[in-house]
């Protein structure tokens, strides 16, 4: 005879179902604004001045405009790789708003809006999209890495940068983003665990938009939240309404403060949605998402609730918004023009950036290509 199941169930310490439930309870979603823009949690209202609230909304509007224009540009073949961001404005930009320019950003490939508002000229973001090295030429004092294509690599690197900041005694943090699918990678766990073990100042974002290309969130893990994965590293994890800019800001600010004060890292799961496809490289979300799902998330649009919130406070009107969108479109047009002016890339230049000093074999190749390039 094997172990009697009935006997096990009676033992409270071994009540696995109760255990799972108790874990879930610790990671309930933080929200400040509801879908209509009404404050539902006064205690967590961020300490932001009116002009800061407006600036935060402007950042989100800019990002939506950028998304819409980039989609058109990519379809016209005037941009290369582009991963749409519409729907994630609160998750991406209200989080960024809690950091400063000295904090080091490790973005994934969807996190272009954060890179630009952290200080990257827009035309460089377009050059990155097209596949031009100038898009990745970052000044020394620009604290970010180019968008990371290897999902998870940015997470272990952010842990290292966090340890570096701590060793230098700097009062800054590293912060990094991945998606729901990315939280299944080994590097996700290793990065968070390393930062925890070294008490390194790092804020890790999991932007959970429900899908990793076509694979729904529930196929990534049996865990009921992604935030609870922080427990495996022994660090705080928190789930936020990623469509709610005020909740995103409050939680991000608290996480940054916690990290910068020497308490170690925080993991933040943002519950969000992308309104568009995974990327414009042939993905059709209608293959794996229902119309109803799109409509349900449309109602949660972070722009709607922030717009309502600011309008209610007398800080926003339609006229202002129309004028801004026009301004953004103009800036985007200018940036495209600037990107068009980038010099043609040369293989000989690539060879020269392989090492500080070219090796003999590379020197031979430089000579060959310089001749070919007609120098």
């Amino acid at each position: 005879m094997g172990i009697s199941m009935a006997k096990v169930k009676k033992n409270k310490a071994l009540d696995f179902a109760a255990h799972l439930k108790s874990v879930e309870k610790n990671y309930s979603m933080v929200q400040v604004l509801d879908e209509t823009g009404k404050v539902v949690n006064e205690d967590l209202l961020p300490d932001l001045k009116d002009e800061e609230l407006v600036e935060l909304f402007e950042n989100m509007l800019w990002s939506r405009a950028l998304n819409d224009r980039s989609t058109t540009l990519a379809r016209q073949g005037r941009l290369g790789f582009f991963a749409p961001t519409a729907g994630q404005e609160a998750s991406q930009l209200a989080s960024l708003y809690a950091f400063n320019r000295e904090d080091i950003l490790f973005p994934g490939y969807r996190d272009i809006p954060q890179l630009v508002l952290h200080g990257l000229p827009l035309y460089k973001a377009f050059l990155w999209s097209r596949g031009h090295v100038e898009g990745n030429l970052y000044p020394e004092d620009y604290n970010a890495m180019p968008p990371q294509i290897i999902i998870g690599a940015q997470i272990v690197q952010a842990a290292g940068a966090g340890l570096g900041l701590k060793k230098r005694g700097k009062k800054q943090v590293a912060f990094t983003y991945t998606g729901d699918g990315g939280s299944s990678q080994g590097d996700f766990y290793e990065g968070v665990n390393f930062a925890g073990a070294f008490e390194a100042p790092v804020v890790f974002y999991i932007q959970n938009n429900g899908y990793a290309i076509s694979t729904p969130r529930h196929k990534q893990t049996a865990a009921t939240t992604l935030a609870q994965k922080a427990a495996a590293a022994g660090v705080p994890g928190i789930q936020v309404d990623g469509m709610d800019p005020l909740a995103m800001y409050t939680v991000s600010k608290a996480a940054r403060d916690w990290a910068v004060e020497g308490n170690g890292p925080v993991v933040i799961e943002t519950i969000t949605s992308r309104f568009g496809p995974h990327s414009l490289s042939g993905d059709d979300p209608k293959r794996y998402r229902t119309q109803a799902s799109f409509e349900e998330w449309d109602k949660k649009d972070p722009l709607i609730r922030m717009r309502n919130f600011l309008t209610e406070k007398g800080l926003w009107n339609e006229e202002k918004e129309v004028a801004l969108i026009e301004k953004y479109d103009e800036e985007i047009r200018e940036a495209v023009k600037q990107a068009d002016n980038a010099p043609k890339q040369k293989v000989s230049d690539f060879l020269k950036t392989m090492f500080e000093e070219p090796t003999n074999v590379i020197q031979e190749q430089i000579e060959y290509f310089e001749m070919k390039e007609g120098k």
Binding site: V156, Q157, F194
Partner: protein, 326 residues
């Protein structure tokens, strides 16, 4: 001058590197208080502090990411991968990330990282400790790969690797760690990367090799001398980039070439040397190029090592064949 084993020369180099530049950091699994599983970092934490020499969680990929992040904060990381068979866990950080950082940033970010790791057969290690995986690294643009064969070179090459502002994979053959001593100067010195050494001069045939096989090749050269064959032995020291100039000059002199490696025939660096000579000095060759390498199987079970690993006898036989080819 002191008589040091290779592992002592490595410890000495690390000590000097920590002294010379406060940005150098040594970290890995058990490299701190324990002084490393081979004692390569023995006493360094005690002398330089936990801030400079520290243990990490057991995760190679995390160690690679840690090195990259620390390099971005202008440190000069010297991470250790406990055995190079474990490189597969950290392949992305080395071959997918640090190797390409200078290039992908257009030269605005650099990775002055030296990844130290033991490898190599003949000491009956368990599975995936001894594998010769250097060609995985030499086939990756953006990396330099260094394999010393003696205590003197080990120190000078390690200090040069640490000084280098690009990533270097520095592989330490376990059988060479303590098998003999060598005169090693006490002061700081470097040996340029990418430069081979002629360890035995000769006129009839060139033997190009690296790592533990340098010892076997030198022994073979001694034996062959007695039968009237004068072999020139070249120790590559840096297996990427290869010092083509030195090899070409030697082959132009001898007219014959044998490449010797511990790695399987389909792996290693031998094929690269053969191709370069075929391309650059084929008219100097009086015979086909000979190759001594391990069989194309997975690295052997411990008890079969001696039957599997290439040795002096294999080298002698191949050299005779090439010298007497007509």
């Amino acid at each position: 001058m002191a008589q040091l084993t290779m592992i002592q020369a490595i410890t000495n180099a690390l000590d000097l590197a920590l002294e010379k530049d406060e940005n150098t950091l040594i970290f890995g699994e058990d490299v701190g208080k324990n002084g490393g599983v081979f004692r390569a970092t023995d006493g360094l934490q005690e002398k330089h502090g936990e801030d400079r020499v520290f243990d990490t969680p057991l995760a190679e990929s995390g160690i690679g990411g840690l090195a990259i992040g620390l390099a971005l904060e202008k440190f000069r990381p010297i991470p250790e991968i406990q055995f190079f068979g474990f490189v597969f866990e950290v392949f992305d950080s080395i071959a997918g990330q640090m190797s390409r950082t200078r290039y992908r940033s257009g030269g605005t970010r650099t990775m002055p990282i030296t990844v130290r790791s033991p490898f190599g057969g003949g000491v009956h290690t368990p599975e995936l400790h001894a594998d010769n995986l250097e060609s995985l690294m030499t086939h990756t643009p953006g990396l330099k790969v260094v394999i010393p064969s003696n205590p003197y070179d080990a120190k000078g090459l390690l200090l040069a690797s640490i000084e280098d502002n690009d990533p270097v994979v520095y592989l330490e053959h376990m059988k060479l760690y303590r098998s003999f001593r060598d005169e090693v100067p006490e002061e700081y010195y470097t040996i340029p990367l990418g430069k081979a050494a002629v360890t035995n001069e000769g006129t009839d045939v060139t033997i190009v090799t690296y790592g533990y096989m340098v010892r076997e090749a030198n022994k073979a050269a001694e034996t062959l001398k007695a039968e009237g064959i004068s072999a020139e032995v070249i120790d590559l020291r840096t297996v990427s980039p290869i010092d083509i100039e030195t090899i070409v000059a030697s082959v132009e002199k001898t007219g014959r070439l044998v490449v010797v490696q511990e790695a399987q025939r389909q792996a290693g660096v031998g094929a690269a040397v053969m191709a370069e000579i075929a391309e650059r000095a084929i008219l100097s060759l009086q015979a086909p190029i000979g190759r001594v390498a391990a069989p194309d199987t997975i690295y052997p079970f411990g008890l079969a090592e001696n039957d599997w690993l290439p040795n002096e006898e294999d080298i002698i036989n191949k050299v005779r064949e090439i010298v007497h080819f007509d």
